[in-house]
Amino acid sequence: MRPEPPNPELLKWAIVAVIVTATTAGELLQALGMRHQGEIHDFRPDALGSVGAALVRDRYIIASFCAMAVSFFAFMSLVSVADLSFAVPATAASYVFETILAKYVLGEHVAWKRWAGASLVACGVALLSI
């Protein structure tokens, strides 16, 4: 028989840390991969099929799926031990990291409106988890 974790709060936040790290890496890699792909114009099944075939060979997309899988299974664990309204907002710390990385790694122009908007969202999300 496995011993129960000594501190359920600590366990919850440890899972949150795994989710935030994996989600940040996953979304950044996904954005890089989709930028390589370019704008999807044609939504007919055959056109989407060829986009899909190109995407499954893109190393950024493959890496992003691995990171997202870790994030997903960690999220499944989290919702089995915590409320949905704790789980979703608590994992949103990845917002802040992702906006910073979008500027410095993806080279996006993050104007004051975006910083202000992202900060309002981050504060709002923090309040939701109280």
């Binding site: 930028r35 499944m76 122009h109 104007a111 504060c123 709002g124 939701l128 109280i130």
Partner: protein, 144 residues
């Protein structure tokens, strides 16, 4: 001659973005809700064994949640093919508001004053980012 402020291409892109944002948000909210509802029935699951997670997938609510989250991933990827990550992230955060409201309506979770304030802040942030250009990265065309 001055250029019109909204070109047909720009308004088409704006419409496409709205449709995909709605799909991203709804599939995420419904997917998370369904997954949580199912996981509450499966019971506590903190394990490093993939088998334990595969077993949980046989719960129909978990299956539905996973299918919706696959739709979420695909629509999110499509959105990122033409819009900035720093645009998509805050705008799709409106989903947190819907998750909180769904938790309150269907899972008997409480909305405190702090959570209500959080909802107001998120809606303001989403509205602010919604006024910024979709893509600021030059060179979004396909690279080889």
């Amino acid at each position: 001659m001055s250029r019109p402020s909204v070109t047909p291409g720009a308004s088409r892109l704006k419409f496409k973005t709205r449709v995909f944002t709605a799909i991203v948000v709804l599939s995420n909210v419904l997917g998370n809700f369904s997954l949580t509802y199912g996981m509450k029935r499966v019971g506590r699951l903190v394990s490093l064994s993939p088998l334990a997670y595969l077993e949980a997938l046989f719960n129909p609510w978990v299956t539905l949640g996973v299918l919706l989250l696959i739709l979420w991933t695909l629509s999110h990827m499509a959105l990122l093919s033409w819009a900035d990550l720093s645009y998509v992230l805050p705008v799709t955060a409106i989903g947190y508001v819907l998750v909180t409201l769904a938790g309150w309506a269907f899972l008997d979770e409480q909305i405190s004053a702090a959570r209500a304030a959080g909802i107001v802040l998120i809606v303001s942030g989403v509205a602010l980012v919604g006024t910024t250009p979709l893509s600021t990265f030059r060179g979004t065309e396909k690279r080889r």
